[in-house]
Amino acid sequence: MGAQAADDHHHELPFDQWPEDKWTGTASLGKIGMWIFLLSDALTFAGFLLAYGILRGGAEQWIMPGEPVEFGINFTAGLTFLLICSSVTMVMGYAAIVEGNRKSAVKWLLVTTMGGALFLCGQMQEYFGAFEFLFHHKGLIADGLIFGNSARASTFYLVTAFHGMHVLTGTLYIFVMAIRTYLGKYDGGNYNHIEMCGLFWHFVDLVWILVFTFIYLVPA
């Protein structure tokens, strides 16, 4: 292929996509970049969870006097179910935009945004009792789980709040994607950005599955 022909072929592709090759297939530059970011992020989470495990395993006394014995498994199981639901709505939004159904994609993306927002509300309730009138619980801080007072409290807030920041980021990200989809930015098979957004959101769900198990479910 001559230099001019190669240049012409290159211009047929969207700005953020590579030509197909045997190593990365049809994955775009953005998708590869998102995977690299997610792997680095996963190793950060792994570091936090390992630190949590090491501190917990080596502690002579893990639960300090005045702290709640458990974090409220049933409530958090509900939050886990919410994230699993939002993962499936995200993938349905992706499926819709791949098939060129803009209206359906916007609907699924907005439902996913709502799932993320509800999860954040749940976390506000868990920490601060922001919705005490609904759940009749003043939150973990009022129960005596204070950041800095014990290794248990500090690692709990570090891991769950770091994840919560990811949920906040993901929720805003998906909302922006929903608006851009509504404006027709991803019509005509240009679904690469939705795929990247989906990867981020599923990663948030994946991490929560591990956080829920190792921080909430493993008995004291």
Binding site: K22, W23, V88, A95, V98, E99, L199, P219
Partner: protein, 110 residues
């Protein structure tokens, strides 16, 4: 064409959409979560077996999200292996740490 025989499957040049599979994975994830919560409330189950069961279920759930929802199953072997190998490193580190803790505990009890 696949979509003529399986209406829930759409084949495009680059991606594979399978709604039935997505909903199946969703229900399996839901059931595994219920199972996880149920395990915690089993009376008399020791910490060791409980930790093994909960950890195993969590890893299976995380792998299902990665494989089906993040479409690793449809990515190239290069991308797939890059992700799996990177994720295996902290997993094996955790296994080594747990083994070390168990060894130290056994040693002090001798």
């Amino acid at each position: 064409m696949a979509s003529e025989t399986h209406p829930h499957i759409t084949d495009t040049s680059n991606v594979h959409i399978n709604r039935k599979e997505y909903w199946t994975i969703f229900f399996v994830l839901f059931l595994l979560t219920v199972l996880e919560v149920g395990i915690v409330f089993i009376p008399g189950l020791g910490n060791g077996p409980m930790l093994a069961a909960l950890g195993g279920l969590a890893v299976v759930k995380a792998c299902m999200v990665g494989w089906f929802f993040m479409h690793l199953s449809h990515d190239t072997a290069t991308i797939r292996n890059s992700v799996i190998i990177a994720m295996a490193i902290p997993f094996f580190y955790a296994v080594v740490l747990i083994a070390d803790a168990v060894w130290k505990l056994a040693w002090t009890q001798l």
